[in-house]
């Protein structure tokens, strides 16, 4: 899966979970500013884990701020 595909998946899932438009989001967007609350963010992580069959440990999520950081973490977990 390419990075662009991963980003599209992020957008699609975020739209589904938060029921709002995420077409303006970029990889540099701060997750906190997207209007996703903490529960929705965890749901989103869960949805990506399921779709990609990876597991992201909680402690690695602490400190994640941008969409790019989250996608990099997902990519690292997919590679390992």
């Amino acid at each position: 899966m390419t990075r662009a595909e991963l980003f599209e998946m992020f957008q699609r899932m975020a739209t589904e979970i938060a029921e709002k438009d995420f077409s303006d989001v970029t990889e540099d967007s701060n997750i906190q500013e997207l209007g996703l609350d903490s529960l929705s963010t965890l749901e989103l992580v869960g949805a990506m884990e399921r779709e990609l069959d990876v597991q992201i440990p909680d402690e690695q999520l602490v400190g994640i701020q941008t969409v790019a950081q989250l996608l990099e973490l997902v990519e690292r977990r997919m590679a390992s």
């Binding site: 609350d37 903490s38 529960l39 965890l42 749901e43 884990e49 909680d58 602490v62």
Partner: protein, 557 residues
């Protein structure tokens, strides 16, 4: 059902053998099974290591243990040793650490703990906490490493019913949570009430399945301490996994033939939303006889939607058990009877604003639906009173007060807060409600608590955080919740100059998210001096909310 007088007695009365015990699904999603005897043996070992770390009977020990089995085994170790566990909540993801450290520092000091037990994954937080003056002289232990190897010799002390069992820190009205004292007698009284014949009426075939956090009463007593006291085997999954995979909760109920589960309203809503039609075939909820609901306002529509969606899995809507409770009463105050349809009261919206729960006309479009939380337990009294303490009549709204053996003796080393909450033996809950046909209905909170996604938020905390922002007039911020589409949503009003309005709307939303993990549904900036205040300068939240709802508040464009 065994009849122990303390948690420790209960632990030693539990049957040996492999069949009965606790099953943990850990953060690594691996399954770990502990028969009761193994839990008891591990608790004894941990008691010995805690004593060797310098704790003596009655000393408090804070637990910051995100892994459920580590939490439970260390809690029981502390109980066996005669120490008093103080659960602390783990750091939430995507949240600012400073506010979190303030709370931890406050708790270790207010509870005057001798030690903190945490895990390797908390090391960063713990190092920052240890740099604070409140931690001076307190030990830090890492589980499970601190409990490895041969335990030192240890003689277990006698633990009496009147001894403290644990301290439950509530979210409190400020950043300074208060420690509710829970004695073994309180715990046994409440457990006997809600799991005994007048409550869930536990049978030997029952299995509890839960994911509620163990640092709160509903998860801790409902799924660990209470269940141990009555010998009710439990399957526990991690709270973080529920948020990510609501379906796992339902899968575990099917897999382990769960009969009892519990969740706040939002969780039923989330599960309804997230479970796909194609998942239904693999789910089996036919074993479930109790699907409890509590901890936040209960919405009939949410529960009925869940029942509809999950009907193909054998779920029976009679399993729903709306309930009411709070940490100051250990856990449970009233329960709806098991195996019966929930009762929904439709009341007239206009009359409710005047404090009267008058039944609405059948065709009233704006009727308010309130779910019955059932009745109190034998040996306990529940009533609704007015401001003078006099009992209110049938269908008259007032403050709910409670008396009985489950009720706390007070907040730990905080006489002022205790005197405010417990007057003439009655616990004043701060919740508004009414009685009708013997059932208790909850209407709202005197204290304006904001409950979103099962978490309590006090408006004051949010207002203070916003007051820190440049351009906001400190003390001229008002946070409250409004109900939109049946869900509680946060609204923030702040006074500022017009030139700052646009910038502040963004900054306020960001600040509230980073400090509380909350999304603000609406931020409005009003001209300086427009938010209503009392003569003593306190703001009038209810009045402000009413003005806002009617669109009568002046706001900057």
């Amino acid at each position: 059902m065994p009849n122990p007088q303390t948690l420790v007695e209960a632990l030693y009365a539990l049957p040996d053998g492999e069949e009965r015990g606790f099953r943990f699904y850990g953060l690594d999603r691996e399954e770990r099974y502990y028969p009761y005897a193994a839990m008891r043996a591990e608790a004894e070992r941990r008691a010995a290591f805690l004593a060797a770390a310098g704790l003596t009977k009655g000393d408090r020990v804070a637990l910051l243990l995100p892994e459920n089995h580590e939490f439970v085994l260390t809690f029981l170790g502390a109980s066996v040793g005669g120490f008093v566990p103080v659960p602390m909540y783990p750091q939430a993801t995507f949240k600012a650490i400073d506010a979190y450290l303030d709370i931890l520092a406050h708790i270790v000091e207010a509870a005057d703990v001798g030690a903190v037990v945490c895990m390797e994954s908390n090391r960063d937080v713990m190092e920052k906490l240890e740099a604070r003056p409140e931690m001076a002289g307190r030990r830090v232990l890492f589980a499970p490493e601190a409990f490895a190897g041969e335990p030192p010799p240890f003689e277990r002390p006698h633990v009496s019913p009147e001894d403290l069992c644990f301290l439950q820190f509530t979210s409190g009205s400020t950043n300074k949570p208060k420690g509710v004292t829970v004695t073994h007698a309180n715990l046994v009284a409440n457990t006997t009430a809600f799991l005994g014949p007048d409550g869930l009426n536990r049978t030997p075939d029952d299995v509890g399945v839960g994911w509620l956090p163990l640092f709160h009463d509903m998860g801790l007593i409902g799924f660990v301490l209470g269940t141990l006291i009555v010998d009710l085997p439990v399957v526990l999954m991690q709270t973080a996994h529920f948020a990510r995979m609501p379906r796992m909760w339902l899968e575990l109920i099917g897999k382990h033939r769960g009969t009892i589960t519990y969740a706040p309203n939002f969780a039923y809503e989330l599960a309804t939303k997230r479970v796909r039609d194609k998942d239904l075939e693999a789910l089996d909820l036919s074993s479930l006889r109790v699907a409890g609901c509590g901890a936040e306002p209960i919405r009939a529509k949410t529960l009925l939607a869940f029942a509809d969606k999950l009907a193909p899995t054998g779920f029976d809507a009679k399993a729903f058990l709306p309930s009411y409770g709070m940490a100051e009463s250990c856990l449970a105050i009233t329960f709806h009877p098991t195996g019966t349809d929930m009762i929904v009261d439709r009341v007239d919206a206009a009359a409710m604003r005047d404090g009267l729960a008058r039944p609405a006309a059948d065709d009233a479009a704006d009727a308010i639906e309130i779910v019955s939380c059932g009745v109190g337990f034998p040996g306990h009294d529940v009533k609704v009173v007015d401001e003078s303490g006099a009992a209110r009549g049938e269908r008259e709204v007032g403050e709910i007060v409670v008396r009985g053996p489950s009720v706390t003796e007070g907040y730990f080393r905080n006489a002022e807060a205790t005197e405010a909450a417990i007057r003439d033996g009655w616990l004043h809950t701060g919740d508004l409600g009414y009685c009708a046909d013997g059932n208790l209905y909850i209407c709202g909170r005197i204290k304006d608590l904001i409950i979103i996604n099962g978490a309590n938020h006090y408006p004051q905390d949010i207002e203070w955080a916003i007051g820190e922002l440049e351009g906001v007039r400190r003390g001229n911020v008002c946070a409250f919740s409004v109900v939109r589409d049946g869900t509680e949503r946060l609204v923030v009003l702040a006074e500022a100059n017009r030139g700052d309005a646009e910038r502040l709307r963004g900054e306020i939303a960001k600040q509230v998210f980073s400090e509380f993990g909350l999304q603000v549904a609406e931020v409005a900036i009003s001209p300086v001096g427009t938010l209503p205040k009392t003569s003593s300068g306190k703001h009038q939240r209810n009045k402000t909310r009413a003005l806002f709802e009617r669109g009568e508040l002046t706001v900057h464009p």
